[in-house]
Symmetry: C2
Subunit: 328 residues, 2 copies
């Protein structure tokens, strides 16, 4: 099996590639071949002795999609995107990468499909940012997509394109609307959603974290582990089960910041919780108020996508995967 | 007021331009200026003595959008599209016209807006074809768009673009999801939906009409008059009332073919009804079964969009507008 990962240098792309190497997806694991691509050079997963090509590649450049597809992969994971904040700040760049880049990929597949009959599987990373405006506390699977950011708009458009190309038998495909990933490893970043991870990640290593929103703030979160598992499940899922709607809201936990903190207290004690400093920030609170608070992802659950049962599990996964099982 | 109509040679575009000339939109009717554009030369509406420019113009050609916007219109009606059947038959052409053409228009507005601060109103003709797959008998305003044709996909993508450009203050705008128009004047055409008009239009002039589906077939229809009225209303509506969701399902009647025929009988008698020849066509029945049967367009109704109260009214409007008030 030959798998192409576009966006392989990102946090999820890297973890996904590592998981493919460590844990067989299928019985023919010995034949696993990887092509890992990103705008910066991706690493070859540690310990992989199979065929792995790494490519530095920008989908907006002429000929880039052709180069990526040269090896005619069986499965294409398209995880690459300009993130929400940057797509909002730079209108042209956001559309160029998130819309035109994706379309160039789909169009190149169409041309090869026309010539050779090659029909890969495409797994597209969409986002809960496709929802916006006035929505219910629990968003059902058949709720309208009215994004309130250019990033969300671009993801929603790509969902529509994926569905149409799939319907026309150009490729098979599935779109996964990823929840906010928490606990995101690494340094604090300037994403408005960063604090959801920061208030867990920093105290677990004895550092202070800033909480800019009230404890009652509710959000939809899953772990990096679950996100990787969504991508893995999409590799082997029988896509005919998706009927006419190949884009799915993924499962996650709908929990409040207060519930996050209670879980942190159970696992790491009052000392850790004391490192959370409340510094209300109305600008961030306003942005977060526009984000989905919960979903009823019946279709994804019925198709076997799974998430953690409690936020305690999510914290424990972070401790196991990122901190070698130890906390400060 | 300067109004640009793109797609002005089409049935609705032509009727709309005529209505603008005949019935003042606003108090400054004397200052009305029209730019009428289409891929074939549009007619200047009869009796119009004001400034009217007609342009033959293909939005997919380089520089076409710049030419269209040269006069910096106050309102831009974008009604032009490759129709459903052709967009399905010719994938590349459908995307080129319906998606890339619309995007070229929006992008050109953005560039002029950047330079000059010009901010027109854009009225975009979307379609009920944005809905598809498994939907309820009565589709609510917050129902997901999962089109099952390339045409519907292209319209849904343009709705998303319109909302994002509007949100970013590049132009003000509204998208109107037009129902099936009935009774469509003119010759029978090969559109799968043609019979909804044909079974009324042909018998009213003493000609036979073919009915390829069962009498129980339910569909969502409004008159050409109402469609023109939707476009007129969009010219002066306070668009701030649209909040974050500028694309609206328009009102229409959810009626069965049997109810259409009963109305025809009331207005034109058994003799007219006898001209309808039932010739079941499974291919057409299958296509029609995938179309929306009804909507609950609460938002559009609250904003003052109106349709006929009965199909009798729709037939009478056709007799008045197209047959000079007389039937065979």
């Amino acid at each position: 099996m030959h798998i192409l990962v576009i966006g392989a240098a990102g946090m999820i792309g890297r973890k996904f590639a590592e998981s493919l190497v460590k844990k067989p997806l299928s019985a023919d694991h010995a034949s696993l071949r990887l092509t890992l691509a990103d705008v910066i050079a991706p690493d070859t997963p540690a310990g992989f002795t199979g065929h792995c090509e790494t490519l530095t590649c920008d989908l907006t450049q002429h000929g880039a999609a052709e180069r990526l597809l040269n090896g005619r992969p069986d499965i294409i994971y398209h995880l690459a995107a300009i993130v929400s904040g940057e797509a909002e700040a730079d209108f042209t760049k956001g559309y160029a990468v998130n819309l035109d880049g994706t379309r160039a990929l789909f169009e190149t597949i169409r041309q090869v499909n026309d010539r050779e009959g090659w029909k890969p599987r495409v797994v597209f990373a969409s986002s809960n940012a496709v929802f916006g405006g006035d929505f219910p506390d629990i968003i059902p699977d058949d709720y309208i997509l009215t994004p309130q950011t250019s990033y969300g708009t671009q993801k929603a458009i790509c969902e529509l394109l994926l569905a149409d190309y799939r319907r026309r038998n150009i490729f098979d495909g599935i779109g996964l609307r990823l929840p906010t990933i928490c606990v995101r490893p690494g340094k604090p970043n300037r994403a408005a959603s960063g604090f959801f991870s920061g208030i867990i990640r920093e105290p677990l290593v004895g550092q202070e974290a800033i909480l800019p929103v009230p404890d009652t703030t509710r959000h939809w979160m899953t772990s990096p582990r679950s996100a990787v598992q969504f991508l893995r499940h999409a590799a082997t899922l029988d896509l005919s089960l998706l009927d006419e709607r190949p884009n799915l809201s993924m499962p996650a936990l709908s929990i409040t910041v207060g519930e996050q903190i209670a879980a942190l207290r159970r696992i790491a004690g009052d000392k850790a919780v004391a490192l959370i400093r409340r510094a209300p920030d109305e600008a961030i609170a306003r942005i977060v108020a526009g984000w989905a608070r919960g979903f009823d992802p019946q279709r994804a659950l019925a198709l076997g996508f799974k998430t953690e049962q409690s936020f305690d599990e999510i914290i424990q996964a972070h401790i196991d995967d990122e901190l070698g099982g130890r906390i400060a």
